[in-house]
Amino acid sequence: EAGVVQSPRYKIIEKKQPVAFWCNPISGHNTLYWYLQNLGQGPELLIRYENEEAVDDSQLPKDRFSAERLKGVDSTLKIQPAELGDSAVYLCASSERGDTTEAFFGQGTRLTVV
């Protein structure tokens, strides 16, 4: 079974440019997460979806970040415009519905803003 797939793996952009990340969760997983991970830090939740509904986006900087999961399957995270401080690894994870299931993580997208 394929795991969580993210693309691209690496992205280098100039500041003020837009960038988008894509995530395809494990088939059948209703819950999808986007995390941000800075170097030497733990992951920080940006947004969590239950199917197509964003149920927790309190940590998403909505002035420049947006996300969608239109059909409740794959998801896109966008930054526009990107800032130097956005350089980080963006992780996607998914889990089945329920309180005792684990989250499976993709390999992440490493973003460098120059």
């Binding site: 733990g42 992951p43 939740l45 994870a93 889990s95 309180d99 005792t100 684990e102 390999q107």
Partner: protein, 114 residues
């Protein structure tokens, strides 16, 4: 506020030596507890989890962890470390009944000497 503390930022052990990584949490009730491992350039992989029951939990790759309610701790152990165990280890907790809202520690970086 809920928090997770991993007191050791970096640990170095010799191959074949035993390992213990510490994790303490601050939460009123018994939370769900997790240990994840992240190898360089990889996503996070679940090593083990504790929800209830036996306080000694066995995980993958020969790891185990023990939940100690009196100490609010969930330390990760391995009796004999292999060079391939060199990675970043993260402890995470979630309020009981809502394991999707994970709170992460800052991680412990493990180096293994030959």
């Amino acid at each position: 506020a809920q928090s997770v503390t991993q007191p050791d930022i970096h640990i170095t052990v010799s191959e074949g030596a035993s390992l213990e990584l510490r994790c303490n949490y601050s939460y009123g009730a018994t939370p769900y507890l997790f240990w994840y491992v992240q190898s360089p350039g990889q996503g996070l992989q679940l090593l083990l989890k504790y929800f209830s029951g036996d306080t000694l939990v066995q995980g993958i790759k020969g790891f185990e962890a023990e939940f100690k309610r009196s100490q609010s701790s969930f330390n990760l152990r391995k009796p004999s470390v292999h060079w391939s165990d060199a990675a970043e280890y993260f402890c995470a907790v979630a309020p009981s009944g809502n394991n999707r809202k994970l709170i992460w520690g800052l991680g412990t970086s493990l180096a293994v000497n030959p």
